[in-house]
Symmetry: C2
Subunit: 353 residues, 2 copies
């Protein structure tokens, strides 16, 4: 018989994060990482950090960082929550806000962590299929539910929705908490942050990992009305009071204050993205209109899995999902112009084979 | 009527972390922080960190850091788990290992987060009172239970237990997971890490916040058999794949490799502690034998709460717990010799009032 103590182990499917290649020569377009380094101000904050102070615990309330966030987003510090990456923030939101017996709802094709957190925290959930054009049908969300979570723009489809969509969603959902996950919003999509002042049951989450090139530091945030943020803080403080470390706070604060560098790099990514989408379409690809730092594409006469696998042999890494409805699509992160030139050259090579 | 969406909020008592004073002139002996800076090697790792790489996600498996930990603790990398401070590691352990219908058990006087996590994760729990001398009675733990968590040394009592205690505890508890929380172990207590090779249901947790002066960075760990670590990784990866950031990993790796500095600073804290305990006893205090970086003390003819409050007016911060059985005790963190001289001078002043 098996040992009795094994009965007490959590029975969970191991979610295995994608392995990062050690090879420095690959063109890495598989993790939606930013091709540009973080703000020089953020780098300076780390490399000149007074490390003697690390013997002390961080400021659990992250006051200075929250102040800088509040100024940037035109809200009050009490409207801002900070966490260890937006996965930490979203996981805490699920625990804080999804405590109904009714199912929470989200699209069938979306961020893969949502069902994982539902299973971890025993939250019932239900999916609404995206339309055939991969758009979210907002009218699906008029049904009674235990909460809503929608990424805007959605991933991996890259499609963003505007203010009218969110207003409609909020009109349908007045009795539950609505989370809009804005991980990619800075790349040209409408942000609902201003609407948190109008809808007190709306919470916006975001990350410094994409548009701010700080994936390696783990900074995520939520913005919403004071009451929601207080519940989120209470849950966080019941889990781990000090999730954002002192060095990350210093770098995050420097990054959010450096608006100029942020706008320049985001704009470079957008310019590259538009030019690559145009080239892909000229090559016969169907590429959705992207408001993110990635491109979601397919090609009528190609097996996208084979294409993905072949690119890997050429040291160009993109992303393929072996999932219903999107198993002949790929997701391509927008890199530098030089990286995208290699990607396009290899793509042409594949098409001419 | 209250808004319906409020029904979905998590109903939780806000656990409010202690506020850090902004005043640089206080003698801060209230948070068990180390008075010495982190290893110069750890500081160098941060201040010379190649921050361009922060645009990429951290290594979710923390391979290099785990390798260094394995070498230090004489185990394999697969026996090591890393997290965002030991609170994160312990919270994940509670979710991973305490899934029985039976109550988990821990002492009545112990780390205050244990009951908080039990409530957060709906884990039933039961306390066994410490003996009158504040020792844990290991025979209490012979009863059937859903899991055991014990800090060794215990906090805030500062008392540590030896190998025989742990072996007896493991003999009593063969059908559940036993967590030994070794946050303070480096200050002179027996570590059960070697026993994880003998008892496959034993898990040891620890932190870089105390003996390694890295509270500001958030690094915690667990050591145990491969199967337990794999379950812990599965739960972690279902919550947030990237809890330890790239800068923290680099600093943690440098710290664990710098054995000499570690031993020197730990030894300084121990020397100061022993001398302060001697002086306090000479002043009529009852101070327990400490195997930690703090002193747990009372005085027959003193109201310890008044003493604590008065010290605060003198800019000397120690810790007072308004809790049953220990409400006439204080916890004093061991600072530098200079800080402890001020503390003792003020204490004599108070006694002579």
């Amino acid at each position: 018989m098996d040992k009795l103590w094994k009965m007490n182990l959590r029975d969970i499917d191991p979610y295995v994060p994608g392995e990062q290649s050690k090879d420095k020569n690959i063109v890495k377009l598989n993790a939606n990482e930013n091709p540009y380094p973080p703000s020089p101000k953020a780098i300076e904050a780390i490399n000149s950090f007074n490390c003697d102070g690390l013997r002390l615990y961080p400021d659990a309330n992250a006051s200075a960082f929250k102040q800088a966030m509040a100024e940037y987003y035109n809200v009050q510090p009490q409207n801002v929550f900070l966490g260890n990456g937006s996965d930490d923030v979203l996981a805490l939101c699920f625990q804080a806000f999804f405590n109904s017996d009714k199912s929470i709802v989200f699209p069938d094709i979306t961020y893969s962590f949502y069902p994982v957190w539902c299973r971890l925290f025993n939250i019932p959930f239900k999916n609404y299929p995206l339309n055939d054009d991969f758009r979210i049908n907002v009218d699906d969300y008029a049904e009674e539910n235990g909460g809503v979570v929608i990424p805007n723009p959605n991933a991996p489809t890259s499609l963003g929705e505007g203010k009218d969509f969110i207003e409609k969603l909020m009109k349908y959902n007045q009795d539950c908490i609505v989370i809009i996950d804005e991980a990619y919003v800075d790349f040209g999509c409408y942000s609902g942050v201003e609407l948190t002042k109008k809808y007190e049951n709306l919470i916006i989450t975001g990350t410094f990992s994409k548009s701010r090139s700080l994936a390696g530091l783990r900074i995520g945030y939520a913005i919403g009305n004071k009451e929601l943020i207080a519940v989120l803080e209470a849950v966080k403080n019941s889990y781990n009071s000090y999730t954002v470390d002192s060095v990350s706070m210093a770098a995050g604060t420097a990054s959010i204050k450096d608006k100029k560098y942020f706008e320049e790099t985001v704009s470079k990514v957008i310019t590259t993205r538009e030019s690559v989408i145009k080239e892909l379409r000229a090559l016969g690809f169907t590429a959705l209109d992207s408001q993110t730092n990635f491109i979601f594409a397919t090609h009528d006469s190609m097996n996208m899995r084979d294409y993905f696998e072949w690119l890997k042999t050429q040291k160009v890494f993109i992303r393929y999902f072996n999932l219903p409805r999107i198993d002949n699509h790929v997701r391509i992160t927008v890199g530098t112009d030089e990286e995208m030139d290699i990607f396009l050259k290899k793509t042409k090579e594949y098409l001419n084979k």
